[in-house]
Structure formats: structure tokens, C-alpha cells
Chain length 335, copies 2
DNA sequence: TTGTATGCGTTATCAA
DNA sequence: TTGATAACGCATACAA
């Protein structure tokens, strides 16, 4: 069963293929009557204009790519949701890729996308993306005129539109919140201390303490390296009333800490309060529910999509934009 | 900055464009030396063959679409992950859409996809998909030679490859598991009693009871309609030792039930055991952790992708396949 | 081994 | 208002 093309419609209606084309594209050159006839035939034959021929002729494709680390991460799922909605509204299709925190996979994806199947790219990089490789590959997109918008995990020295979370204030505000709840011995647990985001959140924590005239105690800063378990750290830290609150900037570690504290017999938040990071509902269902920093993933996706569309459709030479999306604290029962 | 095309490469190298084309496609007609030269020039110029021209010529596109209800649902996220991996391996790009449980949105997506931007379609329908509209739209894909694979939420009277969960045995096995833990007064809570899946799980429950010689008590079957709260139902049901276990086939309802029971002073699982449904980690972190039916979303995605690729690349006329993916019980502390 | 010519299905320009 | 023709960029049958 061959696909019906414009010539089939032309033959069926008796009009030339250029008339058919114009009629189907609702050109005002064509009379109402002719349009009606041609449209009805096209429908009857289930004619669909060839995607490639049309795009080849018009030389633009309404596809954009998105590359994120992991779709099972609730934050990224929200970003995709927000982005997809926005793109769909503007007629763009969203092609999804996952780098699984691997720079080499990321590179493979990027190389593949150079084939022109997308006219723009949304990307949040794999951890430790500071490889020259990736940067070089990304630069190729510039010469292909394919704009890139980075969000969340961005490359500092790559020039493009960027959407960032307000990581600094997320922890700054967390400290404020804890202090207002009477806490002053606040630990900071970071399994991502070697990332830019981790450092910004750390800075917010340190400055938050400073703004409350609390002396920074480096023993209360717990950077975790991959594979570290927090068990001994937390046990040590929590003994003798050395701390009365914990800010943890990664979801699973937060849950482990909560369960550890409860097992050790501490009351949360009375003895030790906890603040965690996630967009997801998990913290809502544990006991006690955990106060958490909401990163507004859906909004990040929407905003990134808007920037990308603008960049695709308008001037590529405008100055690059860096948007900072504020986080907000969802207050629950752990603080 | 115009994109460089094959003629630019041809001029740069001094070879004709057909020689260039052949060289870049690694044709054995072309000498090693020529290939080398042409390849190096192509690289230097950052030449990328025009996506549309190439596809127009070859008339096949390595894009597939996936439509799911909601990406924030962990099960569907897993399906996407599994599918994406499989598609990527075979060189296909995955274009993602979400129907948000709306048949009209679903229809819009399908209509749009008729433009030939994908050569295959993976779909899990919005609830209540039994509209003639959707079926008619889906049928159009047949005449476009675009194969469809349905998974999970399928349309019974539409002929295509399908991947289904073993819903019947999921609840059948759950009953067995509860009985082996000494429970016999097992309630069944279903917020999706009006769906095929809901009915199959119900059947599994009923037959599970039968196989254990437990008389079915219709008062223990709680179908919930949208908006119903389970509070009064569960309170009534749990009083006077009327039940000693609950199977609930929706994640959020399950969590609510757990929390309700604990508030009412019941011990879980001693007084009342609970089994829920989800692929996600939420049940792992509540106290007590909840035994749950794992639907193996990633495998469902992978399998669906495989079927679709086969259908795209091979004979379209083979008989349609219906795969049943077994579920498994993750035993935790609520049973 | 390389080059010439043609066609894929559209849309756009120009002529009728 | 309609139609003939060229062009988009590539791949391939065929000629050299």
C-alpha cells in the first residue's frame, strides 16, 4: 500500500499539483470552490504531505531534543513535563535522551543529533561534564546554527542561554528557617560537594549561618564521596547534642538520615530537624514528613522551552540570557 | 552562516558531488585515497548531510513516537526509560507525548503524528479511551503504514501488537501471599474499578480467594469513584476485626490507607496487612515499608520497543503478538 | 574508479 | 484563478 502523494490528489481532482499544494496550504490565490473540492478529495484519500519533502523545501524542522541525566529523577521528569507542554503548544516535538550520568553516552547522543534532526537542544549535563570533549561537541552545534539552552547542570564557560536554580538562596533560606525554629547547630550534608551546584548550596549555607551570627563549624560540614555511607558520620555528629538540625541536599541520603536518627532514638524535629531537597512526593509520605526545597522543575522546563523557541525563531545574535529560578521551601513536620 | 552542503564539499575537494556522496557513505566504488581526502574535508567543513534530503531520498525516518498518560507516574517513566534505551541502540529517536488522561489531547497528538514525523508509535491510552474517535484516528495509521504497539492501557478491539501486564496473577498471587502469612479476611480497594485493568485485578483477587477456599464477601470489595475518600470506608471496614488485610491497586490510595490505619491505632501488618501497586521507591521509605507489586515498567518499555522495531523493519503482515509480562511481589514489612 | 543525470515530494516563482 | 517549471540536497542508475 503506497502512500498517497500530491500527484495522486492532483489526478483525482483534475487540478495541477501546484494548485493542489496551494489549496491545501490555504493560499488565497485559490478559489473557495476549488479549495473545498481539493480538501475533500485529500481527506477521502487520507493524503498526508510528505514530511521530508516539505521540510526539505521549507528547510526548518519543528523538532527539539532534550538530554537529561535520568528520567526516573522526579525533578527531571517535571522538567520534561513542563518543556513538553510548552513545545507542544508551539508545534514542536520533543525528542528525549538520557545520559545516565555518563559523559561518553552524552557525547554519543550529541554526535547523533548533529544530523539535523532537531533545530534546538535543551540539555542538563552529566555529572563531571568538564571534559573538553563535550565542550567541543557542543560548539559544533553553533556552526550548525542549532541553538542550545542549558538548565540546572550547565557548563560555565560555554556561551548559551541558561536556566539555573537559585541554589545559593535555597540553603541560605533553609538556614534562616531552621534558625527561626530555634535551631543553631546546623549540619550540612552534601553528596555532590564536587559539583558547582553543590558548592553554591554550600555557600548559601555558610552565608546563611553568617547572617545569623552563627560561627561556621567545619566539623558540621559533611561532604560525601560516592559510595560513602553516612551512618558513622551521622552517629558521631548527632551524639552529645552536637547538632540540632541537618540540611541534606540529596533526596535518598535525606531519607537514610531520617531513618538513622529515628533508630538512634532521636525525636524529629524536636531533637534534630531535617531539611531535604526534592520536587517529588516522597518526603510527604514518610513519618515525620520532611520539609523540602522545591525546585520547580516544571517551571524550569517551561522557561527553558520558551527560551529555546525564541532562539530558534528569532535572532540568534542577541545576548545570551541567564535566568535564575527561585526555589521555595515546602514546610512539613521535620522542622 | 549557511549550512554547508554536499556541493560545498564537492567544490572544496574537486570531486563531483556523486563521488563525494559515495565516499561519505563508504561505498566500495570509491578508492581509499579519495575517501580519505573527502572525509577529511567534510570534517574540516563540519559537513552534516541534510536530514530531510537524505530521508526523502531513502523514504524512511528513524523516529518513533510514544504517548503515555503522565511522565510523573513512576511506572510510565520506567517504561520510557526502557524503551528509549532499546530504541537508541537501534538508532531510533524517541519523541515523547503525554495525554494527561485526556482523550481529546490524545487525539490532537495522534492527528499531529499523522504528518509522517514518526515511523512507528508506542501508546498507552488515556483512561476511558473507548471513544470511537480514537479508534478511527488510530486506524488511519494503518493506511499510513505506521505500525502501533499498545502497552498496558490497550484498546481491546483494535488489532495491533500489545504488551500487557499480568494483572490477573498480580492480585491472585497477592492473595496467596497474604494467606500464607495467615490472613484470610482480605479487602480489595480499587480506584480504577471501571477499567479493564481494574477488572482483571479484581478477577485475580476473586479467583485467588476461591483457590484458597475463602468465601468472597462483597462487602470487602471497595470500588472507589473519582473524588471518593476512603476514610469512612476503611474506618468501617477495619472495625470489629472484619478484615485482616487489604490489597489496594493504586499507589496514593495505598499510602492514605496505611496512614489511616496507623492513626486508628492498628498495627501493620499484625492487625492488618497491606499490599500495594507501584514500580517506584515510595513504598520503601514509609514506615512500615509496604509490600508491593512490581510491574517491571522498564522491561515493558524494552519489549514494546523491540516489537515496534520489528514491525517497522519487517513484514507488516505477520500476526499480531500479545505479550503478557508477569509482575512480581516485592516483599516488605507491611505483610 | 569517477562523473552525469534523474528523481524523491514539496513549495515558490513566474507565466498564462 | 490556475498551471508549468525550478529548486531544496541527496543518493543512485548508468555512462564513461
Amino acid at each position: 500500500m503506497k502512500k498517497v502523494n500530491i500527484i495522486d490528489v492532483s489526478k483525482a481532482t483534475g487540478f495541477s499539483k501546484s494548485t493542489v499544494s496551494k489549496a491545501l496550504n490555504n493560499s488565497k490565490e485559490i478559489s473557495k470552490k476549488t479549495k473545498k473540492k481539493i480538501n475533500s478529495f485529500a481527506k477521502k484519500l487520507n493524503y498526508q504531505p510528505n514530511f521530508f519533502a516539505r521540510n526539505l523545501r521549507k528547510n526548518n524542522i519543528k523538532n527539539v531534543g532534550i538530554i537529561i541525566p535520568d528520567i526516573l529523577n522526579y525533578y527531571f521528569a517535571k522538567v520534561i513535563k513542563g518543556a513538553q507542554k510548552e513545545f507542544f503548544k508551539s508545534g514542536y516535538d520533543l525528542v528525549c535522551f538520557f545520559n545516565e550520568e555518563s559523559t561518553s553516552k552524552e557525547k554519543k547522543i550529541l554526535e547523533k543529533l548533529k544530523n539535523g534532526s532537531v533545530s534546538g537542544l535543551l540539555i542538563s549535563l552529566a555529572r563531571n561534564p568538564y571534559s573538553e570533549n563535550i565542550k567541543k561537541t557542543l560548539k559544533d552545534f553553533k556552526s550548525l546554527n542549532t541553538p542550545i539552552v542549558m538548565f540546572d547542570r550547565v557548563l560555565d564557560d560555554f556561551k548559551c542561554d541558561k536556566v539555573l536554580m537559585d541554589d545559593f538562596n535555597s540553603t541560605f533560606d533553609s538556614v534562616k528557617h531552621l534558625v527561626s525554629a530555634g535551631k543553631r547547630k546546623i549540619a550540612f550534608v552534601s553528596p555532590i560537594h564536587d559539583t558547582i551546584i553543590g558548592r553554591k548550596r554550600y555557600d548559601g549555607y555558610v552565608d546563611g549561618l553568617k547572617s545569623e551570627n552563627i560561627k561556621f563549624d567545619k566539623d558540621l560540614y559533611i561532604p560525601l564521596t560516592k559510595g560513602d555511607t553516612i551512618e558513622s558520620e551521622i552517629t558521631k555528629l548527632s551524639s552529645n547534642g552536637r547538632i540540632d538540625a541537618i540540611i541534606c541536599i540529596e533526596q535518598h541520603t535525606t531519607i537514610s538520615i531520617l531513618s538513622l536518627l529515628l533508630n538512634l532514638g532521636y525525636k524529629v524535629p524536636k531533637d534534630i530537624a531535617i531539611i531535604g531537597f526534592t520536587d517529588g512526593p516522597i518526603f510527604k509520605y514518610v513519618k515525620p514528613s520532611i520539609t523540602s526545597v522545591d525546585q520547580h522543575g516544571e517551571y524550569v522546563g517551561k522557561l527553558s522551552a520558551k527560551l529555546l523557541i525564541k532562539r530558534i525563531e528569532n535572532d540568534q545574535n542577541e545576548d545570551f540570557v541567564h535566568e535564575i529560578v527561585p526555589t521555595s521551601l515546602i514546610k512539613r513536620n521535620s522542622t
